[in-house]
Amino acid sequence: MKRHALSTRIWHWINAVSIIVLFMSGLNISNAHPYLYWGDWGFSPTEAWLAVPRFPDWAVIPGRYSLAIARDWHLLFSWVFALGLLGFMISALVNGHFARDLFTRAPEWRWRLFSAEVRRYLRFDFAHTGGKYGSIQKLTYALVVFVLLPLMILTGMAISPGMGAAWPWLLEVTGGRQSARSIHFLASFALLGFTIVHVLLVLLTGPWGQLKGMTTGQVDERGDAAA
């Protein structure tokens, strides 16, 4: 049984590498000035809404504090990440992946259905009938693909002074450069949270089959997945 289209699989792994590199180099960039602000400006701890802890060397690229090298990685992989997402979105629109697997329909928006799904997940019962994904799963993936990932690109562009000059509306919609930087940081940790749950669910639902499904595209008849 075919589980994932080739374009989905290629993007999944390119994206996995991209967000790991972007996250770890981003932590190093955060270490350069670990304070977050709202609005257009902010430069000292007294204006900060958050003093970010220093991230240890093992968590950052390139393994020690270097703003210059971290930026090299970050700005290189921003292209891989953004063009990868664009390619995936186009192919998922064309091949029907979005419409078939990710969009929720009105009948699915029932509190009773959601709570039943949550109760099943709490019993570690990840089998679901009909469709590839459960409703909560669809909503989570849609939130990541249509909100969080594009938000990383949007806020990343708003932080860049060259883009802020080319597209001034970036600063309007994000509430200013420092707000964009704060949102960029918050959304990256939301993605970290998603990734941790995602990986845990893969581990709980037969990691070998899941990895096979996302790599070769094939899956056993009874195989199904909450990840």
Binding site: D40, W41, A68, D72, P161
Partner: protein, 245 residues
Amino acid sequence: MQRRNVLVGLAALGAGGCSRIGETRGFEALVDGAMEWHRAAHRALAPGVSMAREYQVADLSPFFRGNGTTVIDTQRYRAHLARGFAQWQVTVGGLVARPLALSMAQIRALPQRTQITRHDCVEGWSAIGQWTGPQLGPILQFAGLRTEARFIVFRCADVLYGGRYYESCDLDDAFHPQSILAHALNGAPLLERNGAPLRLRIERQLGYKHAKYLTGIEAVASLEGIEGGEGGFWEDRGYQWYAGI
């Protein structure tokens, strides 16, 4: 070769692996390419000449912090500071038809532009200040750029970590309407920490491009052979030459 290096390193996916890749020549070529893509995208995506956002007086930061060099501890600079920079000179030379030496009085006598802009440091912070000074473009025009000139190099009076500070930009940024030689911040002469008596404003790029304590402006055909050859003090230490990102 480059791609293979990246793939091998990414397979390890440790930060240590990344630090090894980061030292290869192929990686350097890749990141330079990515930087060039960013620069090209910033130019291509703007309708016409993109302008950095200009703010209102109400948006000004209450204090404008200094970064990098904030004090120049040389007798020469201290003497200039004590005399109110009356004898300070900025030379305009290199590939120009008419080399110039401008005094601060002459710089203040040129047509002035005042702009309230946001200063973004590569570290991540931002401050908003009001800058006043003549546009760089007309000064270069008056000096008469020779056709071979492709970059403008800015020489500075400060020495940081044992290296002479300097910067450079392309002609696109040099002739940008918001590129000014600022001698005033928030209506008062520049303070020492902000680059007195004169600093560059190059508003679509990060703070390290905004060279302080200007002593010379030089038109060149290539950045090779100037200091570390990468086009700026921080660029020689690994930072991007195009700092609009």
